[in-house]
Amino acid sequence: MKLKQLLTVACMSLALALPFGVQANEGGVALKHAEVDASSHEQINRGLTVFTEVCMGCHSAKYVTYKGLLDYPEIGLTREAVDELRGDRPITSGLITDLSPEDATVSYGKVPPDLSLIVNARRGGANYVYSILTGFEKDPEGKILDGNFNEYFPGHRIAMPDPLGWLDHDEADTAELEAQANDVAAFLTFIGDPHQNERHAIGKYVMIFLILLTIVLYLLKKEVWKDVKH
């Protein structure tokens, strides 16, 4: 096979493979689109606030430590802010909810999952989280109790009580609630892979270096092979 053909096939397969797989969630419902920028300091910090003030009532994010909130440049809380958040927990502690698994089972019938990796662990990622948060509706068939019906949750019956108060919210609050859902989705996207921005930044240099290297190697190859008739 000629180099050109080979490269075309390789690029095409890469381009074809990318959009597949992540799109549809298990239920097969088309998800809403989340406005998420996992490199935005502002959005991630707003999301952190939603997380600590709302979600952490039930959920943990055990892989994110208070020290992380201090150290990740995308979050970059001050020492004072971190101390206020953590109370008497050690700085190396993860973001752990005060709700015990036993109490959760009693109240909701389920232990709320840890959210450190939720964006990576669900098809649709941030779109899925956003859709869940803004997907509390009245059951069209009237079977599932209000507050337990979620348009986007597989099977629709969700044990999580509508955390942002989406069901029955005032028209005027829609934008604010959507913003909260987006922000917390951005925060969760960030903590799912907290080195992603660094990775992209380094990756750019790596790619530039490799392009130059490959060009040089190609020219060298041509030079070495110039006398070979084939």
Binding site: M1, K2, L3, L6, L7, A10, L14, A17, L18, P19, F20, G21, V22, E26, S60, K62, Y63, G68, G94, I96, V111, P113, D114, S116, L117, N120, A121, R122, R123, G192, D193, P194, H195, R199, H200, I202, G203, V206, M207, L210, I211, L213, T214, L217, Y218, L220, K221, V224, W225, V228, H230
Partner: protein, 405 residues
Amino acid sequence: MLDTIMKSKLFGWIDERTGAEAIIKSQLTEYEVPKNLNYMWNFGSLALLVLVLQILTGIFLAMYYKPSAALTMGGYTVAFDSVERIMRDVNFGWLIRYMHAVGASAFFVVVYMHIGRGLYYGSYKGPRELLWIIGVVILLIMQGAAFFGYLLPWGQMSFWGATVITNLFGALPVIGGFLQEVLRGGFAVGDPTLNRFFSLHYLFPLLLAAIVGGHVHALHVVHSNNPTGLDVHAGKSTIPFHPYYTIKDAFGVGVFLLFYCYVVFFNPQMGGYFIEVDNYVPANNLQTPPHIAPVWYLTPWYTILRSFESKLLGVVAMGASLAILFLLPFLDRSKVRSARYRPVYRQMVYLFFVTVIILGYCGHSAPTPTLKLIGQITTAYYFAFFLLLPFVHKFEKTKPLPEEI
């Protein structure tokens, strides 16, 4: 550059004690290679590169990884936590882990291309039968290594994939139950399984390195095939490996790294193909995921397995689909090697490539009756391809071969 090194005093000292000069000459500077190899011949050196990358990144992962299924907070385990620690807290741990996980997929991409090249150009035929057979052994060990490695992060797919596959061994008559128990180290996949898989995951790539040595040695005895499939004789149709193919392989490495690094840095999960979405959920033996599928590189064989109603037949067919690769050199009786000059074989082998891709697609997707039927048809062709080969030469009119390459 090599010349200057070889003229140095130090090199002379080493040469007197090891015969290094003779080795370099016979293996590189005077090792004759056909001059008409196309870029499909680059995948061999790329496979070697990826093997080295896997071993290096693997050794660093093993410094932080902990093979234990003991539960930790939130339904996670020590093993899962240790992988997340690598991803979050270890300096550049994310890079090492993504390189390793993407590298596993890249390894199979490269090796499948390498095998496809061999099929198309008839590289499995005499005198390269043993070279091909060693290659099939490498494929099997690679699949084993990847399967063992996939259990280590102890996610849902790790756990259920290992459960499904070890179950298969249970379907074998007489020894099945015993084999399954030995693999699992108990009655179900659990902590003992994780420990023995980690041990084997360390062992297999090292075995692989040794066998790859044998593969390259066998190659250097019989020399490379080429796109025409003609026997070449040293002299006007060959050139020395160094510098011609060292530089061409180096260029290939550059192109490969462009793709590999793009995925590692910008798309390491590859939309759930390279690291499956469900593997970010910690293993839970009480909750079967809705759809269990192996990683993409094992899916063609998984489809063959699922194409039979009886589990035993499925297991046997899957084994046979791999084992038949060993027989390929003896099934194909045509005197002509390259598909370029074999119009019938050429169509057959193209169809075979398409078949394997379809088999892979079927194995990756949730089963539906249509997909099942497609899987069965393609499975039938998979075997038909090999079983027809002994007869093709009887009626195939090969095209005239050129005199020289």
